[in-house]
């Protein structure tokens, strides 16, 4: 592989790989939204102090954590349609990754909620704040600060795990790379470019998370 050769191949492959980059970003963002929303639900259920809420959330999250993401993706893409739920590859990828990551997000949020000083919650209660207000004004803002570093790490892992959606034909970055590599046999060039593109996506995230940590770390 020479530099000029790499650049020439790059010019040729980059547009296709970039299409994959957009799909990777879309899958990651949609799965992030889903996993965050579901994760908050699991965390609230598991810290509710009510067994009829804690128990199903625990069962569900532990089941999900015990099954490889790959198997979950296959399940959603191939088994759900047999049960009458029709999903395209993108939707199945988002749901699979989102649900799988909701278990990890839920654990992160739960740890954050539990780390909030109970004294501050009592102080808010003693001022006569409603439960909803205590949640949004006292618990969540404090939990967010505690949660941001592990949340950011989960996001970076999710970005990389979005490549697993290629097994159900989602046309994301690694899928495109595999298609080009198998048709041109330029494995070194293609996979080097794919790796660089993943780094272009993840390094800004790493920097962003560090910045947020710094900003919220101040108390």
């Amino acid at each position: 592989m020479t530099w000029s050769g790499f650049l020439r191949d790059g010019q040729q492959f980059l547009p296709i790989l970039l299409q994959g980059v957009w799909v990777t970003i879309a899958v990651t963002l949609c799965a992030l939204l889903l996993s965050t929303a579901l994760g908050i639900v699991w965390a609230l259920m598991r810290t509710s102090g009510k067994r009829w809420l804690e128990w199903p959330a625990m069962l569900f999250t532990n089941t999900i954590r015990g099954i490889p993401i790959l198997v979950q993706l296959f399940y959603i893409y191939f088994v759900l349609p047999e049960l009458g739920v029709d999903l395209n590859a993108f939707q199945a990828g988002v749901i699979g990754l989102g649900v799988a990551y909701s278990a990890y997000m839920g654990e992160v949020f739960r740890a954050g909620i539990l780390a909030v000083d109970a004294g501050t919650i009592e102080a808010a209660e003693s001022l006569g704040m409603s439960r909803a207000r205590i949640l949004t004004r006292v618990v969540l803002p404090q939990a967010v600060r505690i949660v941001l570093p592990p949340y950011g790490n989960n996001l970076i892992m999710l970005l990389k795990d979005s490549s697993q959606a290629s097994v159900i034909t989602v046309a994301e970055l690694s899928t495109q790379a595999r298609l080009i590599a198998s048709s041109t046999f330029k494995n070194q060039e293609v996979w080097t470019m794919a790796a660089l593109l993943y780094l272009c996506l993840s390094i800004p995230l790493i920097i962003l998370v560090a910045r947020l940590e710094k900003r919220f770390g101040r108390r």
Binding site: T120, A123, A124, E125, G128, M129, S130
Partner: protein
Amino acid sequence: MIEIERLQKSFGTNRVLDGISLSIRQGQVVCIIGPSGSGKSTLLRCVNGLESYEGGEVRVLGKRVDRNSPEIRATRQQVTMVFQRFNLFPHRTALENVTEGPIYAAGEDRAAAEKHARELLARVGLTGKESAYPSQLSGGQQQRVAIARALAMRPKAVLFDEPTSALDPELVGEVLTVMRDLAREGMTMAVVTHEMGFAREVADHVVFMDKGRVVEQGPPAELLTAPREPRTQDFLRRVLRPLE
């Protein structure tokens, strides 16, 4: 203003409050003293509805305090609490700590709440510290913010649970000064404390508790200088001369 009648409270099989009766009238300062574990904090927490109780009754302004009733929020806004460990909101500035209750519990307008909060911070000697975060303040300053926060609700009474026990000795005075001023201005206060000097000087009424019961109560001059009950005598001897 606050009436406690034969109050009973247990944690599991541990009876922590065993028939407490006590009343606090408007403008009164009542100090509650007693050994560790006697139930003083639990008593205040029952008054604030932070704790449920099984027997007897707590009434605030004639209304029964019930942790699970929808009216508890209104009651809490009339009787606020200052905690031993301050319990400030660490993610909010001093000013925001004070405006939090008025804005988000009482629905007060932000500008009015901020104006009032600045006045209160000035009153507790914290002008210039409005935008400091709790972690940037000393313990004494934090506790004074907490007092301003409790006052911001314009409460009818304030409950203090050992407000100076978590402070370095040299910072106790500044908090007691604020509380003394507050008492002079006629605020109704229930103060759990080990500061006997403060109780003697400021209290209208002193209550000695042990093992979930009121052992003895009366004016400070009587109870602190000439207690009748042997348990009170014993406790005061240990508190006032701990090294003997």
